[in-house]
Symmetry: C3
Subunit: 260 residues, 3 copies
Amino acid sequence: MNYDLNNLPKRTEKPRQYGFTMAMDKGLSLREVEDFIETSGPYTDIVKLGWATSFVTPNLKEKIKLYKEADIPVYFGGTLFEAFIVRNQFDDYRKTIDKYGLEYAEVSDGSIELDHDIKCDFINKLSDQVTVLSEVGSKDDQKIIPPYKWITLMQAELDAGSWKVIGEARESGNVGLFRSSGEVRSGLVEEILTKIPFEKIIWEAPQKAQQVWFIKLLGANVNLGNIAPNEVISLETIRLGLRGDTFTHFIGEDAAIIGK
Amino acid sequence: MNYDLNNLPKRTEKPRQYGFTMAMDKGLSLREVEDFIETSGPYTDIVKLGWATSFVTPNLKEKIKLYKEADIPVYFGGTLFEAFIVRNQFDDYRKTIDKYGLEYAEVSDGSIELDHDIKCDFINKLSDQVTVLSEVGSKDDQKIIPPYKWITLMQAELDAGSWKVIGEARESGNVGLFRSSGEVRSGLVEEILTKIPFEKIIWEAPQKAQQVWFIKLLGANVNLGNIAPNEVISLETIRLGLRGDTFTHFIGEDAAIIGK
Amino acid sequence: MNYDLNNLPKRTEKPRQYGFTMAMDKGLSLREVEDFIETSGPYTDIVKLGWATSFVTPNLKEKIKLYKEADIPVYFGGTLFEAFIVRNQFDDYRKTIDKYGLEYAEVSDGSIELDHDIKCDFINKLSDQVTVLSEVGSKDDQKIIPPYKWITLMQAELDAGSWKVIGEARESGNVGLFRSSGEVRSGLVEEILTKIPFEKIIWEAPQKAQQVWFIKLLGANVNLGNIAPNEVISLETIRLGLRGDTFTHFIGEDAAIIGK
């Protein structure tokens, strides 16, 4: 860090098993990737190329190379997996992953109806090839999944070979873990955590209020995902209690009263 | 594209008469223009320098040159036309267009009250000099124009020499075609389309929900405008049914059910 | 400017005592700083490194150097001052300012409870070292400060050595001067201005509607702060009456009626 501040929450360091940040690149240019790595490389643990943006983004090989050189793994968004699956092109998906030299992949069913045994089978197959992240939760705001179901699904996917499971929120943060207003479904999160270890879950939290909520509940080193590249620095300050939103959370309300 | 996906909607190719995307540059630096062209050049058919940002943007000539070299036409936002008109400087406006070597211009009356015959006269005069886009709809959210009036105005402007007409929505997408909430005035759009050919209209749709709405109604190759440069990649995936929002629209709901 | 438009509001020029724009850098890369200076250098009078982003931003010295070479002063956001104070590290804060060669500093109490005499004492001490900006208003939306109190606080801070006082709004513009909806507390602003000279106040106005509101009330040359780097160009057009929002404000409604 650039100067010394006492009494900060201790952050994990790279390579992180928890306390990590998954950022979403939804079409950065090569130079923008370099800029992102310059400012946020130390705080970014993995990058998702959002949904199927990798299909239309020029210079994809070069982009992946830049991230690789910075030791930041890259993977295709889950919607791309689904786009291959509904077209009966799973083998093509596996080849595409290899063609781009990726070491991670996401299995999700946010836009499709996928039998859960079949989903776990995909996880299992892919986990022989790469490290798998799998996502629970629908992009459809009409599909409310009860807490016990989230737990069953997450556990089955971990058992099938997922390295971590992701709680779905979309880029915009208004479905899955969140109400349509963007508010966190807090009872759901607390119940999930009674059964699934918190380091095994990446919470999608694209909006600042959501990031703050998870950090207040689960601490500086909660795994958060779908972070916009230009918000990673901000998130790091929120984790450290150095933005207004979490300023008194770590030092305590009393410490913040001076001379009164 | 970077890999093969079967059964995608067919997109038109450059130079496009329809299915095109008008992006709005509201003050990009030269390097940012280069980055934008790198990622989104193939999907961007024309660039508007938003409202009067061209007045204060440094390096304007160089910026226009970059777009020209990438075969992307550039034009000044309609508010600039209006700024010249209300100052009785129409001749200066024509000279400014020539000074910067532009081949397109916009005629609008979003911020002024302009007699429609006079507006059509401006369109007619400018169409001798450049290709004219003209905009229908007010920036004032109090001015509700009924559907038959939209149609009469659009037809008169096409007759006067407009290449295409633009449905006004502002950068923020909350007036004209849209309610103040950002919701599309759907009856209005459908009625317009009974009379004006859809390739003749560019729908301003800065917000994702609006883009989705138009693509679901009018297909992958609807003309959309006022797209933020860093959202052009996203828009292209929405056109192709490769983002959650239109995922099942093109392949059908049934195709998205697997093993259930 | 790039071409001639008659009858524009007269803008002050650099170095500005009023009519100035404070932009907030919340983690730009070095190249992004260069881009920002290219497009917006002439319209940016001072840059705040938002809250404690300077703690985690790599290449901080180089970033400050770029701004310095462009004659744009830089200072640390007030939350960083508070972070040092609550840790009893005021001397370290002074040294950090010197280490980075900064000539401005902000004293605030947005996230802490700070006795006002002690706050004025900090202002006084720092004003021997650098030019001080001090901020009035809480980041806590539950703390409503009545107008007479805003005036008393602002006057005391100016008397203690503040160069200008800042009206707090946060980056998101929903506390302090603003209701939680983002609407301006207009009675408050008008009452403050009966006592404190308008050139002494920087109004935080991150949202466009707020910028428009202040420009309509106080003219093209009101001091505005917390402007996002990529919105400085837009703000300049709003100041000049060249965006829809203030289009008729400077030229008058009648001038905008043509041929009717």
